[in-house]
């Protein structure tokens, strides 16, 4: 069963008075438990596509249906609340809250979901242990390496028990070892807990691990291959 469907998705925006067609008629669907990489060169439209699927950006035309809901119709706090409950995000620049410890960063999302304190603490600890940071829970992001920060970001994305995780160039700032560690963690979570991951990337190491590769260029889907 499809958990995400995009129908004739278009995105046009103006940049210095010039109209840019970032996405041109994309039709895609994703099923629960996929481990998908969206690949393409810089400026091909992968981040714009991911932003629209994540409800961060509105399509100029077309529909995005997630869990049966056309998210283009959601506005303001309803859309924010939808993101909070259904989607996990992992960003290229980690983007943890610098004043909170690793554990507090993971707890933060559950705090927004108003989960009970006991549950928050337990889940944050379990998730950090799962990403191999059981001994770094009380460290602030500035005391963690890039790879460790990104693992906290993955734990944070999982904390809200989302339907799927969108990861925008998650390995772009990581060295080889950190990349390998992170990919192993995400692959394990995908296989063992059936968590859906959708990456935008041009990192071959990620592409090699993906079981579905969507190639886009100039805002159009060039190929969609399953391994």
């Amino acid at each position: 069963m499809n958990i995400i469907e995009t129908k004739n998705l278009h995105k046009t925006y103006k940049e210095s008075e010039i109209e840019v067609h970032a996405v041109r008629g994309v039709d895609l669907s994703f099923e629960q438990g996929e481990f998908t990489a969206i690949v393409g060169p810089s400026g091909s439209g992968k981040t714009t596509l991911l932003n629209m699927i994540g409800g961060l950006d509105k399509p100029t035309e077309g529909e995005i249906i997630i869990d049966g809901i056309n998210i283009s119709t959601l506005k303001g706090s309803k859309l924010i609340d939808f993101r909070l409950r259904k989607i996990g995000f992992v960003f290229q620049a980690y983007n943890l809250i610098p004043v909170l410890t690793a554990k507090e960063n993971v707890e933060f999302i559950m705090n927004l979901q108003k989960r009970p304190k006991k549950e928050r603490i337990k889940r944050a600890e379990d998730l950090l242990k799962a990403v191999g940071l059981g001994d770094r829970m009380n460290a602030r992001p500035s005391k963690l390496s890039g790879g460790q920060q990104q693992r906290v970001a993955v734990a944070r994305a999982l904390a809200s028990k989302p339907m799927f995780i969108l990861a925008d160039e998650p390995t772009a700032n990581l060295d080889s070892e950190s990349t390998r560690n992170l990919l192993e963690i995400m692959e394990t979570l995908n296989k063992e807990e059936n968590i859906t991951f959708i990456f935008s990337t041009h990192d071959t190491r990620v592409v090699n691990k993906a079981r579905r590769i969507i190639t886009i260029d100039d805002g159009k889907v060039l190929s969609d291959e399953k391994k």
Binding site: I80, L84, V99, L100, N111
Partner: protein, 405 residues
């Protein structure tokens, strides 16, 4: 969580937080100390002048304020004095007969202001006996005089020497009398020292041929706060066709104007001070917002409602300002409280300057809660207004643009 995040966030850039908090601290500190000294010192000057001479209110015959002559005196009315004494907040009611005369001794002559007083009642209000530097205070129907020390030295006379007063009495009758000097007075004001002479009310009436007459009744209240209300009450009990009632501001308009002009200048100073602080705060907030735009975008992206984010940042700015505000109060209040009980007595040339202007050379701090609460509220409002900017910015935030920027 909001409070924890907000508190930690303000310490992300310690130096900037400390500079911003310090600007609020110094504004609050200087603002409070400045107002405290001004209110305290002017309050002291007013209290001194009011309690040592004018009283809070004075009752005269209608027209006396325009033409201060004996012909504008009125018959002493015991029932009126008794009515005044029964009013709430009235401490003392003091009858007087005042006029000008030439004071003379030997070959020296000088114009002076003669006040006929009821010695005991006058002393209970003005504590005139405490201003004696030599001699004795007047007895009830004393035939002697008390004079200012500068007048005494000009006339080259001392205790038990005779002073001659020559002038014009009631209905232009010529007035002349001689009085042994019972005591020499010293006032903070050199002007008063060189121009005041006191004799008993009985002798003044005899001198000016003004039998049973008074030129005024001075009324001292328990507090200046009640001046307006008691003035209105007195207006109700006197015949306004016959009498007039004036407050100390009308009796000493120069003092009232001086206090008002100083208050205006201090408000301008305070306004400038707080404007600088307000803009300083706003500058910090704008910088903070610009630096963290991406972070805000990401927080909204992962599901933090804009209202919650705005509340967090609002809490941060309030914390930032409050740190300075509370520090300002914590440091300045003990100083204010200490100096309100232990005034600073000035010496040297500054003291002379004060005395020349007729003021007691003392700096007194006021611990009146009114201006302290007012300053707290003003700074608090500035903080709230400055904190509105990030709230508006966050509520209009476009997360994708914020992240991309």
């Amino acid at each position: 969580m909001i409070i924890k995040v907000a508190w930690r966030n303000i310490w992300r850039n310690k130096r900037r937080t400390l500079i911003t908090a310090a600007s609020v601290f110094f504004a609050v500190f200087f603002g409070l100390i400045m107002r405290s000294i001004q209110i305290g010192t002017f309050g002291n000057i007013t209290d001194n002048l009011v309690s040592s001479y004018s009283g809070h209110l004075q009752i005269h015959k209608k027209g006396y304020s325009d033409e201060k002559i004996l012909n504008n005196s009125f018959n002493s009315d015991k029932s009126l004095i008794n009515k005044l004494k029964t009013l709430k907040h009235v401490k003392y009611v003091v009858p007087r007969l005042e006029s000008f005369a030439l004071a003379s001794s030997g070959e020296q002559t000088k114009g002076c202001f003669v006040t006929g007083i009821s010695p005991d009642e006058e002393n209970s209000m003005t504590k005139l006996s405490e201003k004696l530097t030599s001699g004795k205070y007047l007895l009830k129907n004393d035939k002697g005089a008390l004079i200012g020390d500068k007048l005494a030295s000009f006339l080259k006379i001392g205790i038990n020497d005779t002073i001659v007063l020559i002038g014009q009495g009631y209905h232009s009758v010529s007035a002349a009398g001689k009085y042994p000097v019972r005591g020499i007075l010293h006032f903070p004001s050199p002007k008063l020292n060189s121009s005041l002479a006191y004799i008993s009310l009985k002798e003044a009436r005899k001198l000016y041929s003004a039998e049973n007459k008074l030129t005024g009744i001075a009324v001292l209240l328990d507090s200046d706060k009640n001046t307006s209300s008691i003035k209105a009450e007195i207006k109700n009990i006197i015949n306004l066709n016959e009498y007039e009632v004036r407050d100390w501001g009308e009796i000493m308009p120069e003092l009232k104007e001086l206090i008002q002009s100083k208050s205006v200048s201090s408000y301008v100073m305070l306004g400038l001070l707080y404007m600088i602080v307000g803009f300083g705060m706003l500058g910090t907030i704008i910088m903070m917002i610009a630096e963290r735009k991406k972070e805000f975008g990401l927080l909204v992206s992962v599901g933090m409602k804009k209202t919650k984010l705005a509340l967090t940042v609002f809490t941060e700015t309030v914390f930032l300002g409050f740190t300075g505000l509370l520090a300002g109060f914590i440091v300045s209040l003990p100083i204010i409280l200490y100096y309100s009980v232990h005034p600073i007595y000035l010496g040297g040339k500054i003291a002379e300057m004060y005395e020349k202007n007729g003021f007691e050379p003392v700096i007194l701090f006021s611990s009146d809660t009114g201006y302290i609460i007012a300053q707290f509220i003003i700074v608090f409002i500035i903080l709230i207004v400055a904190s509105v900017y990030p709230v508006i910015k966050i509520l209009n935030l476009n997360p994708v643009k914020a992240v991309r920027d």
